[in-house]
Symmetry: D2
Subunit: 286 residues, 4 copies
């Protein structure tokens, strides 16, 4: 029948379109050979220098955030991360301060000339987020929240996209493609460990992801050295490994007083530990 | 300092609250010993009888949907599933017909006295969805899209919650708890395979999940026998296994003409295959 | 050069040989369409009837073994398993009674007209094993102990080959091919759970493996329902699932008094539990 | 009864013994705080300097081995690896030259003052191996071949123990404990990638294993950068990462002419590539 024929033609054209696009994924280095370098307030990500993004798992108070930020600033770290919207496994866990948390982050960052990195978890928060955040993080659990990716693609703000906890690298690049194909080319990929059978670490840091992503894509690549292993005792060697493997920077959790932290108490570095980390990484930051 | 002390008290109270709640997870069988039975248009899920939910991966046209539905109706299947909002790995893959797809589903279901099961992918679609859908599916990729879960929890409609592709059973139950704790107790859990190293199947059907979920929770449990393995050739034995293990029903993809299907062409059953499946499952449906 | 040329010819011939053999794997159903049925002392595996293999994780004493065997015999179970050589993760764990354990098994089996199934772990034990064992088990850890497989291939005794804990089905069939290609066609495949991220069960029972192995190979397929999940509380539903999926039988651990067992105390069924299991499985054993 | 009582006492004493031993695992850094340094023919592993072990996947001919060895020698690599006994998934794949391969390795090593590293796969080969091999490798598939481990423990030769392809770090250390507790303290641990869902690499290099093993054990730790990813294109960054993470050296495959190699053709480095790798690693070898 004609209808059937048309359907097959429609399907064939979808297939063709898919093949065409695969050949030309916008995030692919085949399309754009030069590294994408993201500039933000005088700092670059993906260029010559490597960066450290640090801060508390969750914004709790102005004092806590300010203390963390001061310490980081003194160590030369300008990228301040902090969670205001926390996607938590249990509905009964602390879910973050929301917009109030973002206000605190913004205030502290303005006082100290720092750059705010924070996560949003819903398309509806995107507009509000622009008031407070300089770089928006999309977390592992939302890597395939395609509605959020589309909205991120329509925004004019750098996006840090974290790899899903069981995402293949192919799926990760397709997720980035959702953002870029909707108009926003300022995407930074962040490896944060994958889920495997091994229980010695919270997740398994897939170090090979770094050079593979750098080869296949022109986008900057970071490694979250806190979530990928969940172990403070190995954060120095894994951070060195990440940078030696070619990462453009690392992301790490720092809290002025981890034992009283409202989340991830065991994995946040205290002031002494973050200072030690920054010192040890100097030869690897170029 | 006083501030510090208060913070510790705040943290302790959060911990306490968490412990309290863990003891009393609303989805737990410890709270409610009797099975939750969901009634919908004269049909029950989680009760004596076991159900089959079937239909095309994606709604493509009225004719395709009607053909699938007629076949299913003739086999005694009243629960009609079909995808209108398709979360796809690539932004260039067919993303579904959207609201138009839901209109087709509703029309066909009304004509044949069937029940519409379909997925939504964003909190913003929830209100619109009520017009067309009888049971809302939250897909594997959105199992920890907590904003969507919260909105589902505020709705008055049965929710089929699929296990995330690398979610533990504990995380799965916590995701269900998001819905139930926000007010909607009509939740159905759906095992759909987990991601492992094995490549002979698309995912690994975790059959043990069925009795464990039935033991730990009072909610009905289904198995998606299409996505869990991605192989039509073993759909009969795996469906039998699912029901023998205690599942309250199965979910399966059926298309009147799979080779021209716009998605998952290889895994949808054709009319002959779905008929064979339904016949072979009779002894297992009680 | 000539040398180089010859080497390429050698390599090409190896490749050809490989392709040839892959087309004709001896364990493949393409080579032999009819089911392989293994006969042993009046009992068949892989034929019409389905079997239960049961017994203690480890042989501890004559009394313990005799008590387990009597219970099993009374339930119609003739295949008596018991471990004498135990491959243990730690060198300080109980390693089994060795040959003394096999002597106990043989004595009890002769007294009660039962069939001895037991594991060996080294090629050097094969000859001695023939004196005591009727069916030799090769454990998951030794699935790719190719020296052991070769020796098993030269023996004239049925072999139960367990799937390695992270083996693909393809690797599993190749391991069976080692045995069969060395001359012993009496091989029984045993799914015993694979290693995944999920922690609710000791391993993840890969139920799809059953129909896939049955489709691709003519060899009988069992499921070890004890090791695959490590949970007694779900042994009934998972056993039903295994048989419903087409397994030719199950293997299960039974101990007269599990709390004092020298290994796997938590996963061995007590007399009441094994009786309940056997009763519930009756409709599934045909 | 008395018997029952004795059994419980026996069991309790086994438990006690286990607890005692766990406290005092011989491979643990709690027992021995200083690094174990293995000396062999004037070279040390686990000490100040880091090592490269390289050579062909399989020994094929004298000429091939000599060519590989000469190249390596010229780059300052003295540890020559080559496979004579190859554990292969399929019985129809090239299984290695056996003792003849070891003779070739020995001859080449003696001519060039190099050190032979090669794998054996059966306890029966141990005695013969001493004639040819300086360091014995136990492969991933044999990590829990406890009979082989025990024989290795009775030998007086350094052992390179590779992590099993789905072994936890705990199981890995217990496997090493089998060797050490049988008398041989010269054990070197080798991370070689673990099996996960990710398909971009052959295995997933678990970089965190390096610092964890170094923290928990006093034994030297290597990384096999060929098998862990199976990709030549990322061997430089992953090798840098391994050394930056604290590994005492790397193991890598080199073949004078990879396209005609009899195994792993795609993953062996050619002369140019191995030279590039060695040059790039200089800053990381201290």
């Amino acid at each position: 029948t004609i209808r059937h024929l048309f359907k097959q033609i429609f399907k064939a054209s979808l297939d063709l379109q898919k093949i065409d696009q695969q050949k030309e994924l916008l995030v692919s280095r085949k399309i754009k050979r030069t590294d994408t370098v993201i500039e933000i307030k005088g700092l670059t990500i993906g260029g010559e220098e490597k960066v450290i993004i640090a801060g508390p798992c969750a914004v709790e108070t102005y004092e806590q955030t300010r203390a963390a930020a001061e310490k980081l600033k003194s160590l030369g770290v300008r990228l301040l991360r902090g969670g205001a919207y926390k996607p938590r496994t249990s509905p009964y866990d602390f879910q973050g301060l929301g917009e109030e948390g973002l206000q605190i982050l913004r205030k502290v960052a303005d006082e100290l000339d720092m750059i705010v990195v924070s996560e949003i978890v819903s398309p509806n928060e995107m507009e509000m987020a622009h008031k407070y955040i300089d770089m928006i993080q999309i977390g592992a659990r939302n890597m395939q929240n395609f509605e959020l990716l589309k909205v991120a693609g329509e925004a004019n703000i750098p996006i840090i996209l974290k790899r899903g906890l069981a995402a293949t690298l192919e799926e990760f690049l397709f997720a980035a493609e959702y953002v870029v194909s909707h108009g926003n080319s300022q995407v930074i990929l962040c490896e944060r460990g994958i889920r495997t059978y091994e229980r010695a670490t919270r997740n398994t840091l897939d170090i090979s992801a770094v050079p593979i992503l750098k080869n296949e894509s022109h986008l900057p690549v970071l490694v979250d050295v806190s979530h990928s292993t969940g172990r403070k005792d190995i954060v120095v060697p894994t951070s060195k490994a990440a940078l030696a493997a070619g990462a453009d920077g690392i992301m790490v959790e720092h809290h002025p007083n981890p034992p009283v932290a409202l989340c991830d108490a065991a994995q946040q570095l205290n002031p002494e530990e973050i200072e030690n980390l920054c010192n040890q990484l100097k030869p690897f930051l170029r």
